[in-house]
Amino acid sequence: MLRYWKLIGIFTIIILSVGTYYVQAGLASNNYPDFSIQKISGDDKAVEDLTLITRYVSNNHSYGDYLKITREGSVYQSELSYMDRLTGLYIDSEIKRLQKDYRNFMRGKGESIPTFFENEEWLVHVGPFGIDYHETSFEVEMLDKNTKDVTSFQVNIPDKNYQYMNIQDVQMIQDELSIVTRNFYSGGPSQSDTEEFHVYRVDIGNQKIISDDVIYSNEGDYTGSEWTHLGEVNSYSSIGQEDYFVFRLDYVEQDDRADSSMHTRTEYIAYEYAANELVEIDLPDKLKGIENIVHVNGSTIYFIETKEEELQITAYHIENQELNTIDIQTTEEVYDMNYFPIVKNGNMYITNFGDEGANVLVIDTETEELLYEGKVESTDQQSFKDGYLDFNQIIVE
Amino acid sequence: MIEVKDLAKNFGRKKVLKGISFTAEKGEITCLMGINGAGKTTIMNAIMNLTSFKSGEILIDGEKLNKHSYEKITFIPDAITMLPQMTIGEALQFMKDFYTSWNEIRAKELLEFFRLKENEKISSLSKGNTAKVNLLLGLALDVDYLLMDEPFSGIDIFSREQIANVFTSHLVEDRGVIITTHEINDIEHLIDKAVLLDDGMVLREFSTEEVRENEGKSVVDVMREVYQR
């Protein structure tokens, strides 16, 4: 045995050092703080099914890791098993659900919410999400959820001049598909570039394009000193049936003195899928600020802002152009801006992140009552000094 | 018995062995003779499965060579098969570690016979002593067959004598030996069988005793006849 001391020695060093390191690493959780949602007032039941996906980034090591936070506590991505870690925590929960339920259909279809549509009977994908000028068609794939049959076909894009386009939403209305895109046209040397929202309607029966309507072009908005940027509002909020596609026009003005440009106001326009026409949205000036947090649910547009250190939600109903304002009295002070709202099952869930922490609010949109108020708390007092939480998504199961 | 049947081998397009056949009996010394490049070493390597061949068959006591055969048959190439940084003692220990047929007593006996010391480093040995250690490593194995490649090449006269003495001693008795050489003089009187090779072919295979008794010729006579024709 003594003759083999070199072999035994090297072997022992490997087993002891590597073994000790990984046993220790396995026993000790990582050094990042744990978080949980703690109640301040209201009913805990309201946040039973709530999960926040965030990223904790520590100031000093410039290192961050994704984590999910619930009422019970938090789990970092690095604490998941190797297999679970392969699918990032940050991937949208709707996409994850679809990949789980329709594994084969979802293959190779990417993770872009706007390219999917789902209702009781159908799961539709139109892709690719980004189309550049040498691609000339949409790839349509439709899964019949009951029979599991997949119909796939291509439709040619009639418009040929775009530089590139992105799919903003897909809807199915009876036997038609409506594909909303934002198209970019480069304007040549003396002209400005143009952006347009298009709706391509596709007849599912004969797999042909019925129409290509420009629902908005910002070509005419250019006055020499002022122009607009187009922005989508509700592309990413849902893959289900929607009545309206809401978009925004951000007006930008040239400031000659400072040789820069600035946003002046924002206007909103809704496109109604069923009627295939635009609906004007008439807002009071105070809601035309560009910094507003806007969320669309059904036919209601919610504007969320801080008013005299209190949270104020303004709901605009597209159908009847009515406005109503809900003032929410919170115990804790809210952080200005950084609101992330979603509406699910008649409740609005808002997370409100700031430098020193994060608030979680649940509001009943019917009764306009605050059902729950809580905050994200850490096991370690220093957590919000050493780093910050970078919000990613809210999941309500 | 070692049987070599129809052995053929190419190096690239060149045919180095063109169907070699001969046998070597246990208890006899068989000598492969031929000028350099006749394929002697290649045949040895092929017998020991140290090189591949195109066709033919080699049987040792009727069996193909396998890993156990190396306890039964060994090969002493013309260069020593141990690392230069090892001492003679370490080389012997290495052999003892791996071969069950290693004969410790005989190894010690040979050390004494060759006047070698265990603590000497192989790299510091003279050519003659290196050859002796090499020989020792093969001879101290209790094997049935012993293959030697040019055991006398480049060695001083006294070492040659010592090595030649080995062949007449009990160390070689009962074993089958295949030896290659291109200088027949040193061992002419020792060999039982000669296989004359040229250009990858066997020109003649004969028993030295028969040739001597029946034809009254020495090995050198036959060689002259065959090669100068």
Partner: protein, 279 residues
């Protein structure tokens, strides 16, 4: 089995002197680096505070606290690791060729051992693996020692302390993360791939040793084919974009491919070393 272990031990001994030199070099260079760089920083702090009368806070806000990560990014640390890696990669070739070339053709002895020749092959591979992992082990032992030295030189106000796994994970350029990944599964994957590559290389070398000039071509072709087959699912994903396979499927596929290639490489090597290899 016993012969295999004897051969592993033997192969280790043949390189052990250079191996110990590599270890020694690593230890000396890294510890010297810690001491010099720490003193350097301390000297700057002393000059700033006592001569330029900066307050401690001002000095820290200008220079930052010293963390061991800054030391890990210096040549004192990386050069010995790079040197060791290069030496071991080089030795992957040498471990075979030294048996053929060199004054004494040891390959005769190795091939004539009364044991399966695959043992010779596996022993050489094992020796390489042990030496690689041995260096990793030494580095794992060395890091806490270096951290202790670092702490003993730099006062607590001027330094940033962290546990071992954070030292490794946060190290500059991520080189320590490749050598010592965060999770044990990743460790197995990294070294599994590494050892597979060693087996593929060994097979290529045996191709060359069996067929010489032609064998060089076979060897190179084999190497690239094997690596390409292994990387194919990942390259296909990157090339064709859209994630036809899910990450977990690619992971499982890669494990299967890796194992298949390794087993095939060993099987092919066994064939070559038994049937084709030439002294």
């Amino acid at each position: 089995m016993k012969n295999y272990l004897k051969l592993v031990d033997f192969e280790l001994k043949r390189f052990i002197n250079i191996y110990f030199v590599l270890i020694g070099l690593t230890i000396i260079s890294q510890i010297t680096g810690v001491i010099l760089k720490s003193r350097d920083y301390l000297e700057r702090a002393n000059v700033a505070i006592y001569e330029n009368s900066l307050s401690l806070e001002q000095f820290i806000s200008q220079n930052g606290k010293l963390s061991i990560h800054q030391l890990l990014q210096t040549g004192w640390f990386m050069i010995p690791i790079a040197l060791s890696a290069a030496a071991l990669i080089f030795y992957c070739f040498l471990i075979w060729y030294r048996d053929w070339f060199g004054k004494n053709t040891f390959i005769y002895r190795l091939l004539m051992l009364p044991t399966a020749r695959l043992n010779v092959f596996l022993a050489k591979a094992t020796a390489i693996f042990l030496m690689v992992l041995g260096l990793v082990g030494i580095q794992l032992i060395l890091l806490p020692i270096e951290n202790t030295i670092f702490k003993s030189i730099i006062p607590v106000d001027l330094r940033m302390d962290m546990p071992l796994n954070e030292i490794i994970n946060g190290a500059g350029y991520g080189y320590l993360q490749i050598l010592i990944p965060n999770s044990f599964v990743q460790f197995l994957i990294n070294y599994g791939i590494g050892f597979m590559m060693v087996f593929i290389l060994f097979t290529s070398i045996l191709f060359e040793r069996s067929f010489r000039i032609k064998g060089i071509i076979f060897g190179i072709v084999y190497y690239f084919v094997a690596v390409t087959v292994f990387l194919f699912p990942i390259m296909a994903e990157i090339y064709w974009g859209f994630g036809y396979l899910y990450p977990s499927e690619i992971f499982v596929l890669e494990i299967i491919l890796g194992l298949l290639i390794t087993v095939f490489s060993i099987w092919l090597s066994n064939y070559l070393i038994n049937q084709k290899v030439t002294v």
